[in-house]
Assembly symmetry: D2
Homo-oligomer: 338 residues x 4
């Protein structure tokens, strides 16, 4: 090894490809040693395009490859927990895209596996690495926000979802999971107590009959009294909209101004600014920073900045939210913790 951390990508889809390029080109302390993807030719194409890394179709090949020191899991969500367990068992450090698991039992398995193996386990809650959110957290840590009273986090996608890739809980487990983590991040030290959610298929009413949801509002009460609201919608005509807000006893922080750049056009219709159109545009730097932090933690043997426990806590909120929609009433976190 040349001092750089050997990293393998599991999954070569949209996000996997971005992470692979980050490892290959944007992180001086990492190198891309392999890509694993079961789809024929997929890993080959990515390693070929990047000019780096072996291509595997069987993820198990990674476990035996001594050049693989750490893995980045960007496979389908439902496979994450098993992959964390397998990678840990093979002694590989693990960066896992969210959600790390879709059941609390799986989350516990993943956490235990990483702990037993003594590997770093980091989860892909990228907003913690985005400039606005980091700056808000810095304010909180500096005491300038005082005690949080109300929080808000929202995610609105630009639309075009493929219903075949959506499950009834997708909006909670894959979209709002980011917001649930953000709320914990911005209400540092507090934990959720009760969750109320309402959700529907408003973008695509035809989804309703299939039990799919595209719009949701979730209220979360925390043990420090703070009230939080997360909302998500799978379609916003103006692009990709992610915002946050903390109202504390000392002041308020707002995050996410939605502008693509600092240029404004004033014309007959008024003043127009361009809006952000996708996650890789809004969070490009955050996606890179989270992997840089992972590589640093692996290289220095320090603690993961976003732990399996963080993933589990956000998952508990998501599961309570889904249950709240089914039950039509608020659901306590301890109800999903049986």
């Amino acid at each position: 090894m040349d001092g750089r951390v050997g990293v393998a990508l599991i999954g070569s889809g949209r996000m996997g490809a971005f992470h692979a390029e980050t490892v290959a080109r944007r992180l001086p302390r990492a190198r891309l040693v392999a890509v694993a993807d079961p789809a024929p030719g997929a890993a080959d194409r990515l390693t070929g395009a990047l000019g780096a890394g072996r291509a595997y179709t069987d993820v198990a090949q990674l476990w035996d490859d001594p050049a693989v020191y750490a893995v980045v899991i960007a496979a389908p969500a439902r496979s994450h927990a098993d992959l964390v367990v397998a990678a840990s068992a093979a002694g590989k450090h693990v960066f896992c895209e969210k959600p790390m698991a879709v059941t609390l039992a799986d989350a516990d398995r993943a956490i235990d596996a990483a702990r037993s193996a003594g590997v770093v386990l980091q989860v892909g809650f990228n907003r913690r690495f985005a400039a606005d959110w980091r700056a808000a957290r810095d304010l909180l840590d500096a005491g300038r926000l005082g005690t949080p009273r109300m929080l808000r986090s929202l995610t609105r996608d630009p639309g075009g979802f493929d219903p075949s890739r959506v499950l009834p809980d997708t909006i909670f487990l894959e979209t709002l999971i980011h917001d649930f983590d953000t709320l914990r991040f911005l209400n540092a030290g507090a934990e959720p107590v009760e969750v109320y959610a309402t959700a529907d298929a408003l973008v695509e009413p035809t989804w309703r009959d299939r039990g799919l949801l595209d719009t949701a509002v979730v209220t979360v009460r925390f043990d420090n009294g703070a009230m939080a609201v997360a909302d998500a919608c799978f379609e916003a005509s103006y692009g990709y909209d992610v915002r946050g807000e903390v109202l504390g006893s000392g002041g308020m922080a707002t995050m996410g101004d939605g502008r693509r750049n600092g240029m404004a056009f004033s014309g007959p219709a008024g003043r127009l600014v361009e809006t952000v159109r996708g996650d890789q545009e809004l969070f490009q730097e955050a996606y890179i920073a989270e992997l840089a932090a992972f590589v640093d933690a692996v290289g220095a043997g320090t603690a993961s900045p976003v732990t399996g426990e963080d993933a589990r806590a956000a998952l508990a909120i998501a599961l309570a939210a889904a249950e709240s929609v089914r039950a039509g009433r608020p659901v306590r976190i301890d109800e999903v913790e049986k």
Copy 2:
């Protein structure tokens, strides 16, 4: 009469004094003919300062004063409905500060009284007359927002509430009532179906033992599927904060930028803009515009722009919210409509 509408003020407190000055000085089509306030000297002081109007300590004197063509009710909230009924019975047109009533039965009494008497009844939901909110509604009416999917309205006061003037339902009946009306205004044509609220004393934890609430988050589902969130907090360190948002199938409107003026100071700490500090600063023009509209409706005999039915509908949401906090579960509007 000189062509101007003779208006009497009922109540000479902070809001009453502002309205009285508006009638006396800012509305060319109105004149201030009387002020009634039971507190000794209060009405006198106001009419003296304005150089206009007779001063009464007994509101009943207004009913007999033929110069009083219309009244503006700015007395304590719990007296509003009775005053609407009495004024209507005397044949006076009525502008009533919110809340028009604190029970649905009282709301119905007030509506019936005005209808029977054939007088104009307008309710003080001033945000409908504020530039940002009017502009958003214009967008909606023009079809540019499409069908609303998610809405937001919030009110954060600068603090300093006197607990002796706060009742357990004050945050819903007197503060959030504005937001509930705003949500209906911005989701025009739809009606609320179900309400979930969580509330607490976070600003003044000592209020909790007395059953008082200073912070609340309310989720409202509408019959067109739209989900709305209203929140309120009795203290914001940065002043008076009122905002709104509509996400529709066509786009999003946001209201309320919180700036006091367009000046910004860039210095060593960054760029600073002043924030709005009070309701009479933020809504000065709206407060004037709503009375101007009232005087126009009275003068022209046209329909009230904000009706008793609007007041009743917002009240139903407020009552459901309060009940939701008590019951710890979502409450359907038809539950408070028994």
Copy 3:
């Protein structure tokens, strides 16, 4: 007199009508006693619409009317100085729209006349009363901007100028005169030393042959070293644009954000805000505030907040700018002071 200052309007055009309405309806300490306009029926129409004031076609009638305690001059610019002199001679206090004079000799005559008569003379530099500009000046006075180094002031009109009402120096004497005063206001205590201007007919190239100018940039050096730039254009597709900026040793103040309201629409094209479309929209409060200040000064016998000397100083810059364009070189203020 009923304690209110009796005010007459001279000129019933666009600006005169606005001021007349302000006197009649928006200023509790003033009353409109007369309007004078030589155009047949013009004064009549305005007094009729406002329901107040006598109508004169001969301005001299005002001088003899004892109810006229003060006049507001909103007649054509070239008549201002003579009217100030005549009003002063008649013992009337004077508010004069800018420019107070178009030659320094006339400015001196006007100043002398008011001083000899002991009447208040205030000039219509309304930006000094606009919230953004007042706030910037407050910062300066509080020492937070330190010593000004660079200043900027600009005026862009929405277009539609009638060339028959434009003279070769109009852009300097009637438009940029506001900016020249603003630069002095924001660089308080300093005086201009040298001026360089470049100007052209860029909106309407056909104006060039008639010697008319519609676009200009003016650089002003002050005796405290500060450099200032004023610019003006008679057409902006997005409306009426007035901005200012002070860069000082302590920080920077920027004025004028151009938004009509705080509502933003996010849609497929991005995020759009409405822009201000005219001076009476942008400066409505400032126009009222300057007359209120005038009435206060007249009523209390205190000093004029915007003096004839201020008008003269701005005029000197305007004359130097016009001369600079003719001569194609920088012109010192003392060159126009011969």
Copy 4:
């Protein structure tokens, strides 16, 4: 060669180190093959830190190194032209930091040398690659701005300049040269005709006796009639401030909002946003993008996106501005073209 362009850095100072890191780590199509710096140990330290490239103390060693396919010149400004000539003579493609030359004769020599050698010559006007400026130019190219009438470009540094590195023309040749290029970029197709400048030592009055300047305002007339203003100040208490503006017949584009991120803190003093503090923060992406474009042009054999002629044209404005300050009058571009 492995398909990547071998690039050498000339100069390992602040900007040179940034460019070297970009070549070594951020550009997949380039590799850092050498760094040359005459200061003992300087090149060694940089190549060591980056883990790439040979270190030379004599720039001539680069000319003989066959692995060096292109050079990036980030040496002191006064050496640029000679280095461009030498690099061209050695057949190396050249990216040269601004200013490419400080006399027109030197600029011509550099242009001729590159042309004769058939190498790519690109100049470091990074703003052309910054998102705001690119977006404004796109608007212009799309016709939405119409014909430019007034333009503005400004540069304000955060201060701390070392007077020993400042020459009398530094503010024009090294700072405002960016703005002069920006004005040409935003007034595409037009060329400057006449320049008027005023400048002084306002930040450090003691500089005045040494003939140094720290604050300047420059007016430029273009052959399409457009008027432009560039200003610069070597100290802004709020950081690094670069802005631009184009007012055209169709509308206005503004560039540079100065925010460090999208987070805002609302507290007792108002609403505060952080401001950008340095050029490598504001223009990080632009600095990378300009080198990426250079590597692309070199690799593909296509035309330079920012030519020696562009550098020469901006230099002519800078020289005319400096001459204008000396002469105290406007200076025509053809006067410096003798």
